[in-house]
């Protein structure tokens, strides 16, 4: 199925979870926050949240800033 992750189109297996998506992106052990269709997905729900066709995801972390 098709997702949009950080503005880029990605194709994953149907019903992929947030946790699986992060692992496939190499972010399994990284401190990131995930937003799905403009709602934060709490870390405790990464494993139980199954993604759907066309979901728009933002995967963010902290960078230096003022």
């Amino acid at each position: 199925m098709r997702l949009v992750v950080n503005g880029e189109e990605r194709h994953v297996q149907p019903s992929t979870t947030v946790k699986q998506l992060l692992s496939s992106l190499g972010l399994g052990d990284t401190l990131v926050a995930v937003e799905r269709n403009e709602e934060v997905v709490p870390r405790a729900q990464h494993e139980s949240t199954h993604l759907s066709e066309g979901d728009r995801l933002e995967v963010v972390h902290f960078v230096g800033g003022g």
């Binding site: 992106l25 937003e35 934060v40 709490p42 933002e58 902290f62 230096g64 800033g65 003022g66």
Partner: protein, 265 residues
């Protein structure tokens, strides 16, 4: 002297210098500058993970040890909606209620969009955030932000990264006199005397990034800023002398040699 503590929401700080973590030439310089500044609060930004990059060192490797209180910002947001989304992602990342709210109105000046800042502040306060909003040096906007429940107000001294120093000390002073929450001057400081001048107005703290990170020697400038903030704070608490047009001698007027008692009367 009793301890001089800065209270913002549920947080307490001894240092009144808040520093940003952007624009440093490298992470080692950032780490040393933060140490030299003796700051307790550091700001960080929330950005998309670069999905093509491979595990580059991030500022979080410097900040992970828990020595600093992280203050995430909503820098780069041009709408209340984006700022609120960014704040919620920051809270998810760090599990902190603190947010430095920035809603920018214009790319060239980076001046805030005050109506949008007020809108976002209301949503975030209602959502349980400890909101520290960046805004113009506008005393009325300061009152509105305080009324909405912001934990502090953060007027700019001058445009972000401009290094122009406090452009309107009288407005900052009015904001301080009317505020019941801490006033942190955020943005525009260029050098240590700017920080001291800002603190002498009676504000509670200064937040800066470019002035330190962009200096030729950031670590030394961090040390200078620490001294500037402390000097300005002490001078404010000490109570300066009134300004007068004419001189007042510091040495006694009596007993000057060569003077004739009769001729002096």
């Amino acid at each position: 002297m009793s301890e001089d503590v800065l209270k913002i929401g549920q947080f307490e700080f001894r240092s009144r210098l808040f520093t940003g973590t952007g624009k440093y030439p490298d992470l080692d310089t950032a780490k040393k500058a933060l140490e030299a500044s003796a700051c307790e609060v550091v700001t960080v930004a929330v950005r998309r993970v670069d999905l093509k990059a491979t595990g580059a060192d991030s500022i979080m490797t410097v900040l992970r040890d828990g020595k600093y209180t992280l203050l995430p910002n909503t820098a780069g947001c041009y709408s209340a909606e984006d700022a609120v989304r960014t704040a919620r992602l920051a809270r998810e990342l760090l599990n902190t209620p603190l947010i430095k709210l920035e809603v920018i109105g214009d790319e060239r000046t980076l001046f805030p969009d005050v109506p949008a800042t007020l809108e976002a502040a209301k949503i975030l306060v209602d959502d349980g955030f400890t909101v520290l909003p960046y805004f113009n040096d506008d005393p009325i906007a300061a009152l509105r932000l305080e009324e909405l429940g912001c934990a502090a107000v953060m007027p700019l001294a001058a445009p972000i990264g401009s290094g122009l120093g406090v452009r309107n000390p009288f407005n900052i002073e009015i904001i301080v006199k009317h505020a019941n929450v801490p006033v942190i001057v955020d943005a525009g400081v260029g050098t240590a005397s700017d920080a001291a001048i800002a603190m002498e107005l009676g504000i509670d703290g200064v937040l800066m990034n470019t002035a330190i990170a962009g200096a030729k020697d950031p670590v030394r400038m961090a040390r200078a800023m620490k001294a500037g903030v402390e000097a300005g704070r002490d001078a404010f608490l000490a109570g300066r002398i009134p300004r007068k047009l004419y001189a007042t001698a510091s040495s006694p007027l009596e007993g000057v040699i060569g003077s004739d008692q009769d001729s002096r009367t």
